[in-house]
């Protein structure tokens, strides 16, 4: 099942004599050239669009750069300043809450719906599309705008609550107590892409395991925890890593819902939003670049922890 183990099988075939090895190497260089040539369009993109700007931003992170004047080298000043920046610490707190609440809930919902759809009902394709739809729309400006209307003090959510006789005057996006929760809800709602991946994973679990377990009298719950979860764990892992990285980079929802302010009262001040405010609002591109690198480190460390921890719970059925 695992890609890594399969790759290691390929590697072990060795050449036997020196001549054979030489021939092999020659052939390899020739193949490599062709390979790189085919890779060229992608490589050009990588260097020009990703690596180049990354190096530039690393350089800028050590400068005072207002965008208008040439950057001026200040060494580690930007990084030192981050230690005292209370809004930066607050934005980290907001982002961590957002990631660690919304990602698990979103994955649980995605898995739940995938399990329902996996029952092989009629019109599966239709349901799958319907559930997938929010994922395609969720990151868009239009949906964030719609969300803002729906959760306003006179929005449809409060109007529905009023139908039930409740005195609903809560500003779901304008009250600092609820604003982040509303954005988390928006994120959870876009569970479609992990759901589709879960569904594909569920389809690959051989039915015979379940049959055998049923014969032995295993309950549904036992079948789920002893067969489904372990066999699905590589997929869960994959979704977890991608969703965490994606959630850290969330920007659009908070930007649109709060009009770029991170408000009310900084309750939705995502890290990326604060970075944007520093860079483009306050013309501190050097500081913003340093912030971007801090984010790279944070996401990198979390991903590394994720991979390390995966040894203990991800099961590859080889």
């Amino acid at each position: 099942m695992s890609a890594i183990s399969e790759l290691s099988h390929i590697k072990v075939t060795k050449a036997k004599s020196p001549e054979e090895r030489l021939a092999r190497r020659k052939e390899a260089t020739r193949d490599n050239k062709a390979g790189y040539l085919f890779l060229l369009p992608w490589l050009v993109g990588l260097v020009v669009i990703t690596i180049g700007p990354m190096i530039a931003s690393l350089y800028l992170s050590f400068t005072n750069y207002s965008l208008i004047q040439a950057p001026e080298w200040t060494g580690l000043a930007n990084y030192a300043r981050m230690l005292d920046d209370a809004r930066l610490h607050h934005s980290l707190k907001v982002t961590f809450i957002y990631v660690f609440v919304s990602v698990p809930l979103q994955l649980i919902l995605a898995l739940g719906i995938a399990l329902l759809l996996d029952k092989g009902m009629r019109g599966l394709a239709l349901y799958r599309s319907i559930f997938y739809l929010p994922s395609m729309l969720g990151g868009s400006v239009a949906i964030a705008l719609l969300w803002r209307q729906m959760f306003g003090t006179d929005g449809i959510v409060n109007q529905i609550l009023r139908l039930f006789g409740l005195e609903a005057t809560t500003g779901w996006i304008s009250d600092p107590k609820y604003a982040l929760g509303t954005i988390i809800l928006l994120h959870i709602w876009t569970f479609g892409s992990p759901m589709v991946i879960f569904l594909a994973g569920l389809r690959q679990i051989p039915g015979m395991y379940y049959e055998a377990a049923s014969v032995d009298g295993a309950t549904r719950w036992v079948r789920f925890t002893q067969i489904t979860l372990p066999l699905l764990s590589p997929i869960i892992f994959f979704n977890l890593v991608l969703q965490i990285i994606g959630a850290f980079q969330s920007f659009t929802q908070a930007f649109v819902v709060s009009n770029g302010t991170g408000g009310p009262s900084d309750s939705t001040l995502f890290y990326t939003l604060y970075l944007y405010q520093r860079g483009f609002g306050q013309f501190q591109m050097g500081y913003a670049a340093a912030m971007a690198w801090l984010l790279v480190v944070i996401v990198g460390v979390l991903t590394a922890i994720n991979f390390f921890a995966s040894k203990y719970w991800v099961f590859y059925d080889d």
Binding site: R148, S174, P176, A200, T261, F280, Q282, F283, Q284
Partner: protein, 458 residues
């Protein structure tokens, strides 16, 4: 598993390809052809890029011909007017070519900052008071005084707002002044008269608001929150302070404690809506705002927004003076603000042609006849008089208001220094905290001032 089968498929495809590759000549020729093709493509791309480069280099020459870029933010009316003005100018000056870059306020500044960083800033830039120091003090804007701009006919108090470090880097594109707009229909519903704005104090304004709220009912409030950077400036000026003094903040924490306390009092009296509604209102576009949708009887607006408010609401708003501490309009320390300014990039290749165009925009009857008072009442008094008869009813009442308040004008506030553009956002944040009861007015005042000070130095 799908993932597995995909991988196997990829692997076997790769193997087959690999074997074919090894077969020799036939494939080798294809490869060479491919290489040549690739080389040609790369060469074409490079020349293409080079071509782009040389295009953007084009510009001025000795015969006075010029190729100019003009960027502004605005609305549909402004875009149409400005395009018409550009066309009229190009017709009169056939060797000058001007391309317009209309935009939205929110994205305009990101784009301008990026363009300036990339050395591709437009030649003529519509500028805002909040940002003029960011650009002007960093040498990104041309000294228009030296460049030959003509401000000889400008009304008093309209030239200085474009000066940064003693250099004139922006020309007033239209006079603006803060106002309180009142919806007469709401007052009628409450059977109340419009307040006397020449004598009302902040306390009386609160009472008028509270009375409206209770008399109209149905979720309508006397006023939307009138507490923003403009009214804070007015409030501080009435206390003998300013938002900003040269390179620094013009007030201390103690000066804004009563400011935050006043808002709590307004909310308690139900002159303004609840904290949640206030913070929601701040993010609403004009056409959904409380005043326009008749959910509020009064609101703070700039004078150049009156026409848009009237158009959106379908009614005609009364223009009121903001309140004062003394209850005397002459002591309310009013001022003319530049609604926008016209600036020229310091790195333009055609400084003369750019300044000439800006001069034409602000000083010629032809340009004024096209733009009218959409950007605000023209600062050039002769020009303002020349378009008087062509103005819409809303613009006429604004022009009258601006002329009426002349005796109430105090010194023009200086442009916010770099970092000062953040004031409004920082203030909104702490006001929200105070209204939601998360911070006391005293704490909010201290934090507000501390954060602003650190923004100004950073």
């Amino acid at each position: 598993m799908t993932l597995d089968s995909t991988r196997n498929l990829t692997y076997s495809l790769g193997k087959r390809f690999h074997n074919q590759w090894r077969k020799g000549n036939a494939m080798a020729v294809t490869r060479r052809q491919f290489l040549i093709g690739g080389g040609v493509a790369v060469a074409a791309m490079t020349t293409g890029l080079a071509a782009c480069g040389s295009n953007s280099e084009s510009g001025g020459s000795a015969d006075g011909s010029a190729d100019l870029q003009f960027a502004w933010w605005g609305n549909e009316v402004r875009n149409k007017n400005t395009d018409a003005a550009i066309a009229a100018y190009m017709k009169a000056n056939p060797n000058v070519k001007i391309s317009g870059q209309p935009g939205e306020f929110a994205t305009y500044w990101d784009k301008l900052a990026t363009q300036t960083a990339g050395n591709t800033a437009p030649d003529i830039i519509q500028m805002d008071m909040a940002y003029i120091a960011e650009y002007g003090s960093r040498g990104a804007l041309l000294d228009l005084g030296e460049g030959g701009a003509d401000v000889s006919k400008f009304a008093e108090g309209t030239v200085d707002s474009g000066k940064i470090d003693g250099k004139l880097v922006g020309l007033n594109a239209g006079i603006n002044t803060p106002t309180i707009l009142a919806n007469p229909a709401v007052f009628e519903k409450a059977k109340m008269d419009l307040p006397d704005d020449t004598t009302w104090t902040w306390d009386q304004a609160k009472e008028v608001g509270a009375e409206l709220t209770s008399k109209v009912g149905g979720g309508v409030f006397g006023m939307s929150s009138i507490f923003n950077d403009a009214t804070l400036s007015a409030f501080l000026r009435q206390h003998g302070k300013e938002l900003f003094v040269d390179k620094g903040l013009g007030f201390e924490a103690a000066d804004v404690v009563p400011w935050f306390e006043m808002q709590v009092a307004y909310e308690k009296a139900k002159a303004i809506p609840s904290a949640a509604a206030v913070s929601e209102e701040a993010n609403k576009p004009l056409d959904q705002s409380g005043l326009v949708t008749s959910k509020a009887g009064m609101a703070m607006f700039w004078s150049n927004q009156v026409e848009a408010v009237n158009a959106a609401s379908g009614g005609e708003m009364a223009i009121l003076r903001y309140p004062s501490i003394a209850g005397k309009a002459t002591e309310r320390k009013a001022w003319y603000k530049a609604g926008q300014l016209f600036s020229v990039s310091a790195r333009t290749k055609n400084p003369d042609a750019s300044v000439a165009f800006v001069n034409w925009l602000v000083n010629s009857p032809e340009a004024a006849a096209i733009n009218l008072a959409e950007r605000g009442i023209p600062a050039n008094t002769e020009i303002a008089a020349s378009i008087q008869s062509k103005l819409s009813p809303a613009q006429k009442s604004v022009a009258k208001f601006i002329a009426d308040i002349k005796p109430e004008l105090a010194e023009t506030p200086i442009a916010p220094p770099p970092g000062g553009g953040t004031l409004a956002a920082v203030m909104t944040r702490y006001q929200t905290d105070v209204l939601f009861g998360r911070t006391s007015p005293a704490d909010a005042a201290t934090k507000f001032v501390d954060e602003l000070k650190s923004n100004l130095t950073g």
